[in-house]
Amino acid sequence: MRTDNKQMTLDAAISRYVKDGSSVAIGMALEASIPFAAGHEIIRQKRHDLTLIGPISDMLFDQMIGAGCVKSVMAAWVGHVGQGGGHAFQRAVEAAVPRAIEMRDHSNFTLTLALTAGSLGVPFIPTQSTLGSELSSTNVDLIERINPLNELGEPLQLVRALHPDVAIIHVQRAAVDGAAHLWGPLGLAKEAALAARDVILTAEEIVPADSLYTDPNRIFIPPFRVSAVVEVAGGAHPAPVAGYYERDHSFAEDYAKSTRDVAGMEAWLRLWVFGMPSHADYREEVGEERWGALRTAASVGAAPIYEGGHA
């Protein structure tokens, strides 16, 4: 068994797999394990005309939209999960600042079905959910049709399969060959990664592959489907990561306060994104004391499993 070494820097991974115009699934585990560091690197590389895909993104979509990277959004919810609305997102939709964005409004379930269809290699999945809503008026991927299996002519919402150009997933630990363990809430992480053309994993830690293969049921997706593995300790901050750190609520609140106008948004990006040549600088800027306060409380470990017999 030969294993490819897919480890690279964040800079290299983004530059190689995220192109202008790419569709990017990011923040698929909802409030947890959001790849903020990867999102910031996309902003630093000034990618534009991106399509963002994600059910509920906390502030990351707001930041990327505020930075002008985004042309289109396929999402169920965009904003700031602590506060509600996201200022940059509102400015973009209401006033085309810094640019107009096109919305494809999904519900959580329709986005689930779109990515599930993608991961299963099927063209669409039908559902009764969202019938009667206006979501399809902003989303050409929701198509109402008569149920072809039903003589009564009942309508169904057909949800077209989605295949992101790239899915960026933040995991607890990964190996250089693409094996990874992700736990805590998964949201649509697996479906998005399986449906995507390329998968970038950012990881709290890089570990030997054999340590992950002691528990192949927890391997995130088959490693041959992973394009890049990047070590980024703290790479989800201010989002939480189970077993590593809590959500940095006050950082998130500061973001909301700071970005009420365009000047504030630009200042925030200058400070936290453009002012940080790499995530190591960002980590340092957050500071040891803050990281210490965010560390999750000690907990009992998971009940062990053995593939063979117990030793």
Partner: protein, 247 residues
């Protein structure tokens, strides 16, 4: 927390019966559900859209459903597809959710104020709300009572209540097992849907009057014959809520 806000959380919590499976939205719904779990509904099962099923309350309540304390001690953690699939199969008794606007027939708007093509204001969007009102057996919606929020007809229909009234849900193809928005709980009052899906004023919180509620409601509100005063928050409810909100 204002008294009205507190009453909104308490009144919503009271809608949850013990043992029910509840799809729990962000922020206010999380607090209301945690309160019910701590008090009268200890065996209620919470389903969260990020892929958590939880029967044990966290104290204090998590600020977001992705906080590590939501995972630790959860009864199941996995993906959104599983919890949404349980919802779509009809296994959810109650959806508990917020909204930007609700209208006379319980339709919700969480997307656009004004014309969606040129909106005055963009709200965060459906999240799970469109699925919850499509598929849960019944739904409790929490929102502040303001005339721009309780409107005659929503600007944009994010999540289906009863559309234009009787027969609408069936006509658009929603499942018969789901009743859409059945209760709206605000900081002033409780509104309940009748058989046609229209929301009636059924309870007033302390300090609220029919006139004040009508003035804060964008349609001529029907008043229930059985209109009553909401029972004031008990000491137990207040203490539990304070404990949940600490930290």
């Amino acid at each position: 927390m204002s008294e009205g806000e507190l009453m909104m959380i308490v009144a919503a919590a009271r809608e949850i019966a013990d043992g029910e499976t509840v799809f729990v939205g962000m922020r206010r719904p999380m607090l209301a559900f945690a309160l019910a779990q701590r008090l009268h509904a200890p065996s209620a099962v919470g389903l969260y859209e990020n892929g958590i099923v939880r029967q044990r309350p966290t104290t204090p309540v998590a600020r977001t459903m992705g906080d590590p304390r939501m995972t630790a001690g959860a009864t199941w953690v996995g993906g959104m597809a599983t919890v949404m699939g349980l919802l779509a199969q009809g296994h959810v008794d109650l959806g508990l959710l917020g909204a930007g606007q609700v209208d006379r027939f319980g339709n919700l708007n969480s997307s656009y104020i004004g014309d969606y093509a040129r909106p005055e204001r963009r709200l965060p969007g459906s999240g799970g709300s469109s699925d919850i009102t499509s598929l849960a057996k019944r739904c409790v919606v929490l929102l502040p009572h303001q005339p721009q929020r309780l409107v005659e007809a929503v600007d944009y229909l994010t999540a289906p209540g009863h559309g234009s009234g009787s027969g609408w849900r069936d006509g658009v193809g929603l499942p018969a097992t789901s009743a859409g928005t059945t209760v709206v709980v605000t900081d002033l009052a409780v509104l309940r849907a009748d058989a046609e899906g229209e929301l009636w004023l059924t309870a007033l919180h302390a300090g609220a009057t029919v006139e004040a509620v009508q003035a804060a409601t964008g349609w001529p509100l029907k008043i229930s014959d059985a209109l009553r005063q909401s029972a004031a928050p008990t000491e137990e409810e207040c203490a539990a809520l304070a404990a949940l909100r600490q930290g």
